[in-house]
Amino acid sequence: MQTEATPAQADVSELDLVKRCQAGDTEAFDELVTRYRTRIFGMIYNMVHSEQDAWDLAQDSFVKAWKSIKRFRGHSSFYTWIYRIVMNVTIDWLRKKQVKGECGEFDDAIQLKEIDPASKTVPKADALPYETMKRSEIRARIENAIAQLSPEHRAVILMKEIEEMQYHEIAETLRCSIGTVMSRLFYARKKLQNLLKDVYENI
């Protein structure tokens, strides 16, 4: 798994930072946040499809990580450990949202389509408006398709395909067996293939 650490940051080992955090050093924690914030935000965004919710959930996850960092024993990497927190926070939030019967995903997708290309990313100089629109539509289709998966299936497919995590890492993060990860991947892929067949076949 990649991190956004710069060479200078990489000089300080993750374990050292964790130990400093455990001693109450908030600067060390800030360093860890800087390393992982973008990846964690991106992962949560792909789960919830809302910038604001992803922001809040990422904040909640980091606060939770800070509060429980003393319990981190180093049996797994810090990234796997914090990912577990992120997944718990996000899946719980999605479940609560499902129970409440809120259906914000579709609205979020429309909002993203209308606002995101200009506000969030800087379009390349050679990107034509038509291409930008087409990509936004494709992204909206993908997000709609992912929104139809259960929180657990979303988590598994995103960790495998986007984060390129191994089965055992996903299993460790979600606290389930490798067999469960593989089964969830099977069903998640099948569903996405059905929903996005025309998209990936025409690109």
């Binding site: 908030t26 924690f29 946040v33 506000s119 992912i146 497919i157 593989m182 089964s183």
Partner: protein, 172 residues
């Protein structure tokens, strides 16, 4: 023992090898269709990675700033709660003291009032009558009514159908 779904996933991700791979591929009814499916799964993975893989975080520094502020607040809260806990403890202790004192005052007042309301000289005669027993065999139809005027400190017992006076009373 892996299920078909698990084996299929492992096969798609290139995680099957050796005899397991040979056995699985041999078990496929249509290998060409399976290979096409595998290619589709790869396309799907590539599409996801390309289109939603790099979702940037705008205002990264503000994100960290907000988080630092929140952690500082969260870290400060326990000490305030500790202070609050002490004051709560004092409140509980004060409540206990107040409760105990109130109970003591109430008991003292109740004892005083009861003592005052039951002077020995007033109830002496009445107690004698009430303590006496009417024998139901001797006086089966006996009825006793009591009339009391507290202001005048007078009690009247009205008895009917009494065949004989209770032995205790008669003896007095």
């Amino acid at each position: 023992m892996r299920t078909f779904e698990q084996k299929w996933t492992a096969w798609l991700d290139g995680q099957l090898s050796g005899s397991e791979l040979t056995e699985f591929e041999a078990s496929l009814p249509d290998k060409a269709a399976a290979e096409a499916e595998k290619a589709n799964a790869k396309k799907l993975g590539a599409l996801l990675k390309r289109e939603i893989g790099a979702h940037g975080l705008a205002n990264e520094e503000f994100f960290s700033h907000q988080l630092r502020e929140r952690i500082a607040r969260e870290s400060a809260r326990p000490s305030r709660e500790r202070d609050g806990g002490v004051s709560t403890w004092w409140t509980i202790r004060r409540l206990l003291w107040t409760g105990t004192a109130s109970l003591a005052v109430f008991l003292a007042f109740a004892i005083f009032v009861m003592h005052d309301k039951n002077p020995a000289e007033q109830s002496q005669y009445l107690t004698q009558i009430l303590n006496a027993r009417v024998d139901p065999v001797v006086s089966p139809n006996a009825t006793i009514s009591m009339f009391e005027a507290k202001e005048d400190r007078v009690t009247v017992l009205w008895t009917e159908g009494l065949q004989s006076l209770p032995a205790d009373y008669a003896a007095k």
